[in-house]
């Protein structure tokens, strides 16, 4: 898939006005995972913005060392959520990465490979399906137990990380055009956004989402023609490609239906399509209208009248997905839904809203920091021993699988939709 727009565009450099908005007050420092691990200004939001500004003003070259500080950023946007000055950190960092991609000095080969993989694997459903198929098979197979018992992968760093992250029961894929559970006499119809990895590895979550919606008389349709949301590409600085994907989704999902998204990263990206395509005369207005129709699963479900009751006896640790809590500012809705479930005891863990280190492809690109953040989660799980860890994003779910194992626990890791689905089913059986 070739991009039809020149790349990078001048508009893809961070805007001086965005950068100058930071008054270096430092209030964001301790919300930043990488600052709280390192204590270094260079690994803080304030420092990263200052570096971008120094590059912008010509005080500093964009050296590999400078880039390394940006690379270590998780793009979790915790800083943005607490910044009183309203610094658009997410936008700044996407543009910084676009700038880096245009002038690659460090790890040229790795960057190219990454960009190639994001464009040609992640964004191409059939290629992705073929690549993921063995992993899907492996995840549920007896081989996995063997590999784990023999610790076969111990010395294979990244591979071992990926192995640990695989969901336990991936479930059959749900792809655009597939049929989902339908309610009897639907009161409303919504589009279910299927996504890339989500659709291949988390079909179970999609089905659970459709069932929960159906029980509230909403029909979810996996509208055909939709593609990957482009979040991973935008975070990697490939804004041109992200724009292409956005335009495809806008074309495919034209109409008035609400678009329900159960992956926090995709939802955040799609709510920002208006911003992404603001300079595209043909799409700017359509993109803004599209963005206004996007809802996170929890955000949508809390608005549905007559939700059936749920029942699940479990101590549940809800962990905020960064792009839900920080980018979409949705914290209360998932917790409210969990509180409605009878028998469900919320377990508050420290740092529930701090990044788990999954961060898209981050766990593969920066395994050290990712492991440190995962270890912090694991330590909390060990301390509080929840029965279930719940979140709302596929990448986080995978990281929590690994964290729970690291904590030596048997806790289940579930998407909020899966938990609600199971709880509603339990309640009916009673």
């Amino acid at each position: 898939m070739a991009s039809d727009t020149p790349w990078p565009l001048p508009l893809d450099a961070p805007a001086a006005d965005d950068l100058s908005r930071c008054v270096h007050c430092g209030l964001c420092l301790n919300s930043c995972p990488t600052f709280s691990v390192t204590g270094l200004e260079a690994e803080s939001p304030r420092g990263r913005i200052y570096l971008a500004r120094a590059v912008d003003e010509g005080r500093l070259e964009m050296t590999p060392a400078v880039q390394a500080h940006w690379d270590l950023c998780l793009q979790c946007r915790a800083c943005e959520a607490v910044c009183p000055s309203g610094v658009a950190y997410g936008r700044i960092m996407e543009h910084v990465r676009a700038q880096v991609a245009a002038a690659p000095k460090k790890d040229r080969l790795q960057r190219r490979l990454r960009s190639f993989a994001l464009r040609n694997v992640v964004a191409r459903p059939r290629v992705l399906a073929a690549m993921v198929a063995p992993a899907r098979w492996y995840a549920g197979s007896p081989l996995r137990g063997l590999v784990r018992r023999t610790r076969l992968l111990r010395s294979f760093g990244r591979l071992a990380v990926m192995e640990a992250q695989l969901p336990r029961r991936p479930g059959k894929p749900v792809r655009p055009g597939d049929t989902l559970a339908a309610p009897l006499g639907a009161a409303a119809r919504v589009t279910l956004f299927t996504g890339c990895v989500m659709s291949e590895l988390f079909g179970g979550v999609h089905r659970a989402t459709a069932r929960v919606l159906a029980r509230s008389h909403v029909a979810a349709v996996a509208t055909p023609g939709q593609v990957c949301c482009g979040a991973l590409h935008a975070h990697d600085g490939d804004l041109a490609f992200a724009r292409d994907l956005a335009r495809k989704n806008i074309d495919a999902l034209e109409g008035g239906d609400i678009i329900v998204v159960n992956s926090a990263g995709c939802g955040a990206a799609m709510k920002e399509y208006g911003q992404l395509l603001a300079h595209d005369p043909d799409y700017a207005a359509r993109a803004a209208a599209f963005a206004a129709r996007v809802r996170d699963f929890s955000e949508y479900v809390v608005t549905l009248p007559g939700r059936p009751a749920g029942q699940l006896d479990a101590r549940v640790a809800y962990q905020d997905a960064c792009h839900l809590a920080h980018a979409q500012r949705i914290r209360e809705q998932p917790r409210a839904l969990l509180r409605e479930v009878q028998g469900c005891t919320p377990v508050a863990t420290a740092g529930a809203d701090m990044c788990c280190g999954a961060a898209g492809i981050y766990s593969l690109v920066e395994p050290g920091m990712s492991a440190e953040l995962r270890a912090r989660k694991a330590a909390q799980f060990r301390e509080h021993a929840p029965d279930v860890v719940v979140t709302a994003n596929p990448g986080c779910q995978m990281q929590y699988e690994a964290a729970v194992r690291e904590a030596g626990l048997d806790a289940r890791v579930m998407h909020l939709a899966e938990l609600l689905d199971e709880a509603q089913r339990n309640a009916r059986r009673r």
Binding site: V23, G26, L27, N30, S31, A42
Partner: protein
């Protein structure tokens, strides 16, 4: 002459290779704090513990390189900016809570601990650390000690010095010593008291013993809405005269309210002329009757509305706005210059008129946030440093306001410290003999001029380079001290 290589080698020997920053892009990030002053250090050292800190200080002394301590860099008077370059010693590797003793209600912490993390950790014992600067999510206990920081809740509970029992310090000479201890009222000279508020000019704090206080049984938070700052100011005086001592009493003007509301959606009325945020705490019956009196005083002096936070979440929201208010000014202009004057409460209204006048004459918007109960004002002058000459204009506007505070019988700083930017105003308050006496304390701790130079007291060699200051003083008029 010391070479860079030599300096780095000595620092690495003191703290280990990984704990010295020296690359240009790393140094750039230690040229600033929360103010507009900037100066690049030669190197940054990150010691862990008193021994390593002392080793760094001694190495710098031997090489004749200036030293500047740094906490989180949220300071608002340029205190952590290395005015004469040299080495910045950052405390970020020392951020552990060493002990919480609920029986004796104290804690022992390291200096780099962010203020709020202490209260969070003490909460399980029903205790908290009282001084709560608005920057408490970020600023460090060590930085608080150095600045004798205050906060909204210091109105009834007192500022940092009232809550610090003892400190372990590495003196400017590089010696490790304890000032004060675990029990209050130790005998002998109160060197602990002298050190607190010394703005990192006498040494570096490496451990702090602080007092913890019980979380109040009952809290009521009121938001009173006024049409004008004058009405709100008069109400403040009336509340105090009525013998009420709120836990906190904060004022914000219209510009601030609008920025805070835009940035933080905290439920402030954006078209009010001013609001007072008043908090009362203590036993339930007492708090309720005091709240009723405060409400009465507000309504009597023209409040158009007095709201009460219904629960903890609403209270937190009201405070979130206040605590983020200064930061949210970044929405109005790319830079702000925040002043920190203190005036007798009775003169609040006159000084505010001067502030408004300065704002009009210099054509610079000024937002106002106050710890109103203490007469501590924070006019924030807004500008864009990229405009040629803007910074100089702002500094001279600031100088005029500071002058007005002093002339009204007030002082130069309520809590942000004198630091770099206001040292030259000190002669407005003190005569030469006073200043000399204060300066004599420095050699006692081993500071011969290179330990956090150009801060707190005027003068010193090599401190005149800050062009901003010079320009500001020239513009402030003929009787300004240069």
């Amino acid at each position: 002459m010391t070479t860079r290589r030599e300096l780095l080698a000595r620092l690495r020997a003191a703290v280990g290779d990984r704990n010295v920053a020296w690359r240009p892009e790393d140094l750039l990030l230690y040229e600033y704090d929360g103010t507009i002053e900037k100066k690049l250090p030669y190197a940054v050292a990150f010691p862990d513990g008193a021994d390593e800190t002392a080793a760094v200080v001694r190495a710098c002394n031997e090489l004749g390189v200036p030293v500047t301590p740094r906490g989180a860099g949220t300071g608002l008077s340029g205190g952590a900016v290395p005015a004469r370059r040299g080495v910045v010693i950052a405390t970020t590797r020392m951020r552990r809570i060493l002990e919480i003793d609920p029986v004796n209600r104290l804690a022992v912490v390291e200096p780099g601990l962010p203020n709020i993390q202490l209260s969070e950790a003490a909460a399980v014992h029903g205790l908290f650390y009282a001084p709560d600067p608005s920057s408490q999510k970020a600023c460090t206990i060590g930085g608080n000690v150095a600045e004798n920081a205050g906060g909204p809740h210091c109105l009834s509970l007192g500022v940092t010095t009232n809550h610090v029992l003892g400190i372990e310090v590495v003196t400017a000479a590089g010696e490790i010593t304890w000032l004060g201890g675990r029990v209050p009222d130790a005998h002998g000279y109160d060197l602990r008291g002298a050190f607190i508020g010394s703005e990192g000019t006498l040494g570096i704090v490496t451990k702090v013993v602080v007092r913890l206080v019980p979380v109040p049984a009952s809290v009521v938070t009121l938001l009173a809405v006024f049409d004008t700052v004058e009405q709100a100011s008069e109400t403040v005086s009336a509340i105090i005269s009525a013998g009420l001592i709120p836990a906190a009493m904060e004022m914000m003007d219209r510009t601030t309210l609008q920025a805070a509301e835009a940035g933080l959606q905290c439920g402030y009325p954006p078209d009010a002329g001013a609001v007072l945020l008043v908090e009362l705490d203590g036993l339930a019956e007492m708090v309720d009757s005091q709240a009723a009196s405060v409400r009465g005083e507000c309504l009597e002096r023209g409040a158009t509305d007095v709201r009460t936070a219904r629960d903890a979440a609403e209270r937190e929201l009201l405070w979130k706005g206040r605590k983020g208010a200064i930061g949210s000014l970044g929405r109005i202009a790319p830079n702000y210059y925040i002043l920190d004057g203190v005036v007798p409460r009775s003169r609040l209204v006159d000084v505010m008129a001067t502030v408004a006048d300065v704002s009009a004459r210099y054509d610079l918007p000024i937002a106002n946030v106050f710890h109103a109960g203490d007469g501590n004002l924070h006019p924030c002058v807004m500008f864009d440093e990229r405009e040629p000459g803007a910074t100089e204009r702002v500094l001279s506007a600031g100088a005029e306001i500071m002058r007005a505070c002093v002339e009204a019988g007030g002082s130069l700083s309520g809590e942000h410290g004198i630091g770099f930017e206001k040292q030259k105003f000190m002669p407005w308050l003190y005569n030469e003999a006073d200043l000399e006496n204060m300066a004599r304390l420095r050699p006692v701790f081993g500071n011969e001029g290179a330990f956090n130079p150009c801060k707190l007291l005027p003068g010193g060699t090599g401190c005149g380079e800050m062009a901003h200051q010079e320009a500001a003083l020239r513009a402030a008029g003929p009787d300004a001290y240069v």
